[in-house]
Symmetry: C2
DNA sequence: CTGAAAGCGCTTACAG
DNA sequence: CTGAAAGCGCTTACAG
């Protein structure tokens, strides 16, 4: 900036004023133009660290996602990307810190080294201690979760409708013995899936169906074993909701391989909609989270938090669910 | 740090020496311990911007990936994650800048605002101008690509073996009319897929098979149309290599739906290995990029670049391909 | 309207 | 061995 000022024949202060369009500083158009031209010629790029060091606050927002988790494409990642875009539009710099190994205090330390205005991370990255540490340092800790939390400001991604819609469709078809498959065991499931399966279970029960919740890891052997057990025990359900397209596709394939007719004997659908639903036979009926139709602006909540106002009402993203009828249910 | 120094009863300089373990500064063990304890009690976190502002160089490396592209899980993203891990282990701070909208000079500007030591981005984010701008500012521009480039230091992810292995398997089965499906049209394909399909085509031709390269977008209608055309024109191939599991799965499903026997009439396999290969019937034979078996340490190349030495030899990641035989070829 | 000056949090030659 | 001082690139009251 010194170079720019020198070239424009003004002081550094003046250069700063025009480059920042500081409100309240009336600079003659002539001078303004000279500074801008000098900046252009020298390809001036402001030094954000110096700026925020001086200002005492930064315009940096750091998101934290585990790179490998990203590949599973959970809703929290999708939401984070959208938040990133909106936060950038509001003039902040959004950077992703992806070290998968840190959580709690060590995570807070590595975020704080950057002195960001806020950090947005999945709820499991925070502890009571680390939230306090961040707040004390003036960094707003924002969590992403599928359920509310009072640990800190939390953006709630409510995917319950996916499960309810799925269960309701089975009930409407007349299913009376419903299996709710997956979304109950591992931490990963909880993070990626939220509580859609809890809701599916509740809805199926409320609808009067005999309902079972079954843990499931989506692979060929598990699916084949499960179907074998059902057949041996005579506990074949007449409807199955899979937590993801992959869950549902595996059980569907295993059923067909075992000679069970889908959907006549067992109707199968997924509380989720991935392209592979088209690839299995019969084609898999799914429930889609209609992100495009989603009106909630998560970023508004995040931006509010950045300015010290946190409105939990704003921060709930209720995902609209839409049935995508195909052939399996 | 002033607080820490005061609490430990030493000067800020001394505090800095012990906190940074500055080599050549002999501080008595007593003093050291006092400083460390004070830092612990005050939960001191160094301010990286202040440090790099003073030092004139930063330990920041920024990666640039488009968040939505990430979800497609291309090899460049997987590689970037691994580079990130290694770069972090070497003591750098690795941050991801994911603004999908910028490229060329605007991208360079937004990276430079952070004054990083290096940036790692897919080749298409760079232009001649932006590379020069970065270099001039002392930031090392590193590209990720599937083919070499002399624009700047480039990490080459060579996925050619995937295509060769796939084609060779079809040749070994006796296929003489081979279709190489996809990986030729859109920029996206190029980025995600590299040149595996070029190599598949070359290998099939070299093996004496009549070879056709066919553009393909992996959806149901396109697949059905293509199969219909083949049947109508009498141009049904006896072997198909799909660019991805999804490509191959769609054509496989369309063939089966049309009453074609797979693999007897047409053998199908993917130059790629995704879990859904297990879900289609017949199960899809694939070729897996054995990342775990890959010995190349991309980070060595990147770290060398950071220190001003760039060794193109180090920077080629030749992905080992392994056939995963299932039922479709 | 414009400039000189202080200071953000750090590091590092340089004196003591 | 330890401290006082300068300075990285910027912003912003404060004087002129």
């Amino acid at each position: 900036m010194s170079d720019v000022a020198r070239r424009a024949g003004v002081s550094r202060a003046t250069a700063s004023y025009v480059l920042n369009r500081t409100p309240g500083a009336r600079i003659p158009e002539q001078t303004r133009a000279r500074v801008l031209e000098a900046a252009e010629q020298l390809r001036y790029v402001p030094h954000v660290s110096a700026r925020s060091l001086r200002r005492g606050r930064s315009d940096l927002v750091v998101g934290h996602v585990d790179g490998t988790a990203v590949l599973r494409g959970g809703l929290s990642f999708v939401t984070l990307i959208q938040v990133a875009r909106d936060v950038r539009e509001a003039g902040y710099t959004f950077l992703i810190h992806g070290d998968p190994t840190v959580t709690g205090i060590p995570a807070a330390r590595s975020w704080l080294a950057l002195r960001p205005a806020a950090v947005v991370a999945t709820l499991d990255r925070y502890t009571e201690d680390s939230v306090a540490m961040l707040a004390e340092a003036g960094t707003v800790p924002i969590a992403l979760s599928h359920t509310p939390s009072d640990l800190t400001a939390t953006v709630v991604i409510d995917d319950g409708d996916l499960g309810r819609t799925a269960a309701q469709h089975l009930l409407d078809r007349g299913c009376r013995r419903i299996v709710v498959l997956g979304g109950c065991s591992r931490l990963v499931d909880r993070q990626t899936l939220g509580h859609r399966m809890d809701e599916a279970e509740a809805a199926a029960e409320a609808g009067g169906a005999e309902t079972r919740r079954v843990p499931f890891s989506p692979d060929r052997e598990t699916a084949a074993d499960l179907v074998r057990t059902w057949l041996a025990d005579g506990t074949l359900p007449d409807g199955v909701v899979g937590a993801t397209t992959t869950h549902a596709a595996h059980i569907l394939t295993a059923l067909v391989d075992a000679g069970v007719r889908v959907p006549e004997q067992v109707a199968v659908l997924a509380a989720d909609d991935e392209p592979q639903a088209e690839l299995v036979r019969p084609r898999l009926t799914t429930v889609s989270a209609d992100l495009a139709a989603d009106e909630s602006r998560m970023a508004d909540a995040v931006l509010a938090a950045l300015e010290g106002r946190w409105d939990p009402e704003l921060a709930v993203r209720r995902l609209p669910a839409r049935l995508v009828p195909r052939d399996s249910a």
